[in-house]
Amino acid sequence: MVRVDGEPSASSLVQVRGLDKRYRRGGEEIHVLQGLNLEVDQGDFVAFMGPSGSGKTTLLNLLGGLDLPSAGSITVAGDEITHMSRKKLTRWRARHVGFVFQAYNLIPVLTAYQNVELPLLLTHLSGSERRAHIETALQLVGLADRMHHYPRQLSGGQEQRVAIARAIVSDPTFLLCDEPTGDLDRRSADGIMNLIGQLVSEFHKTVLMVTHDPVVAQRADVLLHLDKGVLVESGPHMPLGAVS
């Protein structure tokens, strides 16, 4: 269950309380997020929509521990990340967050296998254990037969699948997807959304996704709209609490 009314829930995987983010640009202060509250449970699939500059990506960056808020707190699986040191936050990201970016962000000189292996190199897994994890992840995204291909030898959809395999290979607590279909045609985008849906339904993964595409957003269980840093309305098909 996703709540945005600020009512605390002990069972929530992600708890966001009074989240504020301000930037200073050229002497002007920009209030990107304003006292945002959010509760996300394990296995939820949440989509954030909103116009450019509404704070979607900033929210995702804050949830992923890539940035720090100006005020408020974020707690994920019991860890309050807003007061962690940079070093601790890096370690926390490696353990808990799987990122999927619009531009795939694969390393072009590494094969699909090596790209998926990157998060695992930070663990204490042996070579054979890493191999087993990578093969499973690539099988799941349907690219077991492309594991030794370089990104340039793959289509856009396949590259994003490799990026998803990289995001899930270390079994993170949740996935953060920033416009995962933004660079793809409709057919490939459908394929990617089917895959993400499968991760949620079959593997009970928690997914928080930013998108501009209403068709893609409809695939989520919960649709939240951000406007000028405030969650202003919910998707019509979602049972939500009061908007904060």
Partner: protein
Amino acid sequence: MKYAGLILANLLRRRTRLLLTLGSFAVALFLFGVLMVIRASFNQGLEVAGADRLIVINRVAIIQPLPLSYYQQIARIPGVTVVAFANWFGGVYQDERNFFPQMAIDVAHQRQTYPEFIIDNAEWQDFLKDREGAFAGAALAKRFGWKIGDRIPLRSSIYPGKWEFNLRGIYHGSRPQDDETQFWFQWDRLDEQLPPGRKGYVGWYVLRIADPADAVRIAKTIDDTFANSPWETTTETESAFAAGWIRQMGNIQFLILTIGSVVFFTLLLVTGNTMAIAVRERTAEWALLKAIGYPDAFVLALVLAESLSIAVVGGSLGLLMAKIFTLSGDPTRGLLPSFYLSPNSILIGMGLAFAVGFASGILPAAGAMRLRVVDALRRI
């Protein structure tokens, strides 16, 4: 080692650029190696100088002689163990360009004075028996293709007359830096052929002393002994004497240092620029690595590892080429007393390559380390 694949893949991503950067290091270190060989050659006298050897020359100039009668007086000074003497011959073999040092030596004490030269006993006996006999260094014999038994004619502007020698032996240095370009013949032969007024003079004395710490006292005693005589002396250690020769040739050290510094500074600029470009074009990758949990220090280490790998591989290649070049023979055909790249020079070269690799990589690496993921992602 699990990151070796990542480092290698990154290095190989732009192969032409990698080859050019490796080439820059290789050429710079090759040049460094050759400069070190030349420097060592000029400093060869210093490097081979025996700590227990003193040189006695005429106080006016080395070209002025000293009487042979000084021999016994020097030999009697306490602390002196061996005394030898020699004359510079200054001959020409076939052509003025074929320069090599020729000396009329005191055969009775030569081997005790210079024990670092390896001399075959049988060859030495043949040399002693033949008044026209001569001994040549191995490098000199190789330079002119001489073999034992060859007849070697020399012309001398200092000692007129017909000078021909029979090559009776070839000596070798026991250390790589030992001078193997000298030509020796018997001092008696020289003296016999001189007119009466020029007989009985030597160019310099070389003496060995029991205790190197006693060098100053012995040198002073010798110079005091011959003070106010027609042939006053200057006595100094062999290394001081060699350093004096080097000074006469100009500031070779400074010249070599200047050339070397310019080469390495240029290399630093080239490599630094290459690394800066390589780091900048991978901004998205640094952002990704940091986002998925790689620490800042890892990014720093990764860039430095790439930079140092190029430096070490390119540097090793250059020094290897320099070593092969020196092993293939002296291109000056024996003008330099030694042509040898020492292990010490190789180590210094590797150290310099490492330092340039580090210096060129540290700024881009620090930039990549400081990069904030959100800023980098925004730029993509």
